[in-house]
Symmetry: C2
Subunit: 340 residues, 2 copies
């Protein structure tokens, strides 16, 4: 048996009411609040079907209905109209982001903005190293045998690493190394760099070979192994909204999960361009976040993605609003990065 339009309408009404009131919603309340044009009894029949199909359930016999994860899924996939941002929200984004001085600042403002607008936990990934391109590499002598390698990427990110050289290096030599390295790597995507670094060693003159080998190994580390991603988090206090009702009684597992960078990266990773992804309940595959949903989106200049951002909240969340906000913020940040 498939679901006719009215049943879908009933499901939408249930989701909307439940999200708002956080209480199981009954047939009478539904017809009162939404002009469905039918009687409570009819709605009850529809509800029975929806329950049969697994979209809603009763916390206990003779209580109202609550959407299941599948119900939210259907709601998001088929019943959600894109809710345009209010002018107030648009203005908030502008106001919040204007005057950001550097990448750190942009990321921090973004994450706070997201948390504030959605009233949920927000996560923003720094522009990913592997998807950025090298803008410039700098070598700074620290002592006679130590150099500091500083890498600046086109997204404004700066990474540094200490290089222990095999022997003393003079200014001339440093100059030479810097030249070669930049010549070869500047403008290249980090993901394309490793073979180029290899070449760099092969092409180097014998007397520089040792130094270059040493530098190359650190470079590789910086480019690849250490492409560990950085994250910013905000709005954990929002987890306490709605009492302890969400998250089945304890915030513990959620807070624990939020401390694991690996988990967060998984939540907002692997995104497709120009789409906003919604993971509902245990779709996110993480035990501790069984009763949480994640709305995430990639951002970057144009249609490329250099990082992800998103928000996490109870499955009982305002999906249309959250999706709209996440999408808008992702676009805004992407444009901001494009300007640099």
């Amino acid at each position: 048996m498939s679901l006719d339009d009215r049943k879908l309408e009933v499901l939408r009404a249930i989701v909307e009411d439940y999200v708002e009131t956080q209480e199981p919603v009954g047939s009478k309340a539904l017809v009162d609040r939404h002009k469905l044009g039918v009687s409570p009894a009819t709605v009850r029949n529809d509800m029975a079907v929806l329950e049969e199909e697994g979209y809603i359930r009763q916390p206990h016999t003779s209580a109202g209905r609550v959407p299941t994860d599948a119900g939210y899924r259907l709601f998001v996939d088929r019943l959600t109209k894109i809710k345009p941002l209010s002018p107030a929200e648009r203005r908030a984004i502008e106001r919040f982001m204007v005057g950001a001085v550097d990448l750190d600042d942009v990321v921090h403002r973004t994450v706070r903005l997201l948390a504030q607008l959605t009233r949920q936990v927000a996560v923003v990934q720094y522009p990913s190293l592997s998807r950025s391109a090298v803008r410039h590499l700098e070598l700074v002598p620290i002592s006679t045998t130590r150099l500091m390698l500083v890498m600046i990427t086109d997204t404004g990110r700066v990474e540094q690493r200490l290089v222990e050289m095999p022997g003393p290096v003079g200014d001339g030599e440093v100059w030479e190394l810097r030249l070669r390295v930049n010549e070869k790597l500047a403008g290249q995507r980090l993901s394309d760099a490793p073979p180029l670094v290899q070449k760099l060693v092969e092409e180097s003159v014998p007397e520089r070979r040792a130094a270059m080998t040493c530098l190359a190994s650190v470079l590789l580390e910086t480019l690849v192994e250490r492409s560990e991603e950085r994250l910013a988090l905000a709005g954990t206090a929002n987890l306490t909204r709605g009492g302890v009702l969400d998250f089945q009684g304890t915030l513990r597992p959620v807070l624990e999960a939020l401390e694991e960078e690996v988990i967060l990266l998984k939540l907002i990773g692997d995104l497709e361009p120009r789409t906003t992804r919604v993971l509902i309940g245990d779709e996110n595959q993480i035990d501790n976040l069984r009763s949480a949903s994640v709305v995430s989106s990639g951002y970057g200049p144009g249609t490329t993605i250099v990082g992800g951002l998103g928000v996490l909240g109870p499955t009982r969340m305002d999906y249309p609003g959250t999706i709209a906000t996440v999408r808008a913020v992702a676009r805004y940040v992407g444009d901001l990065l494009a300007q640099n």
Copy 2:
């Protein structure tokens, strides 16, 4: 009336038991668990005095006693023997910190280590800019009229800023600027730098004056105005230990406070060398953290302080243990930084 030894002993016993059990402690339980050599009735009399003096209180008539903030204060000041770290803890510190590759890594490991050992929320401040010295300044051309200013400090911290130049600058000019700036500022403490920057402008030749002025203003920003401090946080999940009993029922205000960098900096700022500070209850002056205590310590090479670190937990915390751990970790990190 002053407190004789036995009364102090009773207070200590109350604090220790309450910290452990999280339940008001009564006279009978006290004499059972601690060999006080007197009867419950005697202890009751002592308790009455301690209550009179404000060191303990009853949550309600005919319940056991609970230490007040003043009680904890007395306990920490006069009744706490320094508890040596267990070998296991020493080993944990070693194991955790070994192999840290750069400053970011050191800070992150430290904060997680602290959170794990104390089972509380941990905060670590990055080495403060104003107390560090400039190791090197680098100017990297980004476009014809834009430079990236990169500052490396002796604590390994790297800050970068974009400089918008008044007109196109050639490589030679950049070279010259870099030379002058390093000549003047390398090795200087950041707090001493502003007047030197001023001099730099005054001493510059007229044809470089405009460029130098521009650079100087960004330098000043980087050195001073933007000496905003960075922090790392970990262990928020530990707030949920001990049920919702600590923090009078809701984590909300605590989580909110923890999101404010300004507040965190206040908590672990202004430390004196070689001491561990304990702020109990509203000694920390922050409304949201009324029922929280903070144990903090400065760290840095030798007796200098380049940053602070600490942990935050309920006033009902294991002070001796926490103090010992915080102190040990602070020392360890200080030594680690000294090695670089």
